[in-house]
Symmetry: C2
Subunit: 242 residues, 2 copies
């Protein structure tokens, strides 16, 4: 079973304070880029892998007119998602993405925000997601960028002119990475971009768009505090069709 850090008291409490937890999609700076990769949602059946507090599920159902099955490993997050949801077009279910059985040919869209970097058997998950999609169905996901995840010491250095540099190492060494993000001992799975894309291709997906997200000029004008994030990408965003 995947480590379920989200039900850890300390992690859950800190995670709940993040902008993306309190404000939902508008609190996630990568959301506009991810949204641009989505198809028109009206009438679609959507699978939300790692739905968390249900922000995307509610947006897709209430603003988009989709019906959504949201899966998450965290009972606490699902409790909060259920409490915040009134739409009859959303079903939440507890599931571990490593092993969850997914209904066959049942969705036009699979979506996942920042969950896949916890998954150990990512190729097997892509296979199951592929089978859960109708022919031509789309998978859109974000995950932590491998450059962000790889280093032994994932924090900025100050370069010679006082500018930040990112001390990359171990990029080519795939496997677990343990960090102290929000709580000690959070385990993520590092893979290269090449491996992630080859697993998708091997599972029958056609890659449609790959974006290594960093704040763009428009966002930096509003959020100058994000300037250092141009040093290296934070998130990998992918759209692929099956």
């Amino acid at each position: 079973m995947t480590q379920n850090v989200y039900d850890d008291e300390r992690f859950f409490s800190a995670y709940s304070q993040l902008d993306r937890s309190r404000r939902g999609l508008p609190g996630a700076p990568e959301w506009p880029a991810l949204r641009a990769m989505l198809p028109e949602l009206a009438g679609l059946r959507v699978l939300d892998l790692g739905c968390g507090f249900g922000w995307f599920a509610r947006w897709a159902a209430e603003a988009g007119g989709a019906s959504v099955l949201g899966l998450d490993i965290s009972e606490r997050m699902l409790d909060r998602a259920r409490a915040a949801t009134t739409s009859a077009n959303i079903t939440y279910r507890r599931a571990d993405l490593e092993t969850a059985e997914l209904p066959k040919s049942s969705f036009e869209l699979a979506f996942s925000s920042l969950a896949f970097h916890y998954v150990v058997e990512l190729g097997a998950l892509f296979e199951r997601v592929g089978r859960s999609l109708v022919r031509g169905g789309r998978l859109v996901f974000s995950m932590e960028h491998p450059i962000y995840m790889a280093p032994s010491r994932p924090a900025f250095d100050l370069g010679p002119e006082g500018k930040p540099t990112w001390p990359l190492d171990r990029y080519s060494e795939e496997g677990p990475r343990t960090t102290d993000w929000l709580a000690p001992g959070v385990v993520k799975q590092h893979r290269t971009i090449g491996t992630i894309l080859n697993l998708l291709i091997g599972a029958g997906f056609a890659i449609r768009h790959v974006e290594e997200w960093s704040p763009n000029d428009d966002l930096l004008a509003q959020r100058p505090d994000l300037a250092d994030e141009r040093t290296r990408p934070m998130f990998l965003l992918v759209a692929a069709d099956h």
Copy 2:
């Protein structure tokens, strides 16, 4: 016109001393990975973009049974390629990849080794290469990896335990990078992996394989001097079908 650093006396002289120049394909550590992405060559028409001294062209024609059109911007490299070639199945032609007109629907395979990072208008080149391929034709190429190319200061630092780290910065800022590799003022074009893949997809290619090359365990056993190269990938290898 692309900077033609290969006809610079100092650069040419230093480049000629590299293992990959003196020994050809066996002197390029990434060659086995690139070769594994090629189709069976017998009878194929092959376009070699940036053919250099003609090592690949000769291998494809003489060992593989292909016919090859080799293009390069460097007159000096083409002179040496012609002098080393006896096969009647290879034609060399001087051409700038930025602007070269390519014959339409004329090749089953387009190949390029470590040339595309010099190209300013890479999307336009991908379009022209796509039109030069027959339906279902394949493009296989290597280029410098964006992680390798991006930094202001592309050289290892020593981390806290004496282990090398790669001071990544400017990853998200695409554009020219000037380095002093073999000669001062060599200009390369930095783009993210996402941009490179999206340009391919936009030109009608289906991505088949993406490899962020670093030495693997087998190679490190033979070449322990390459150990630091696991810190960050040196080359990006891609196969895509049109």
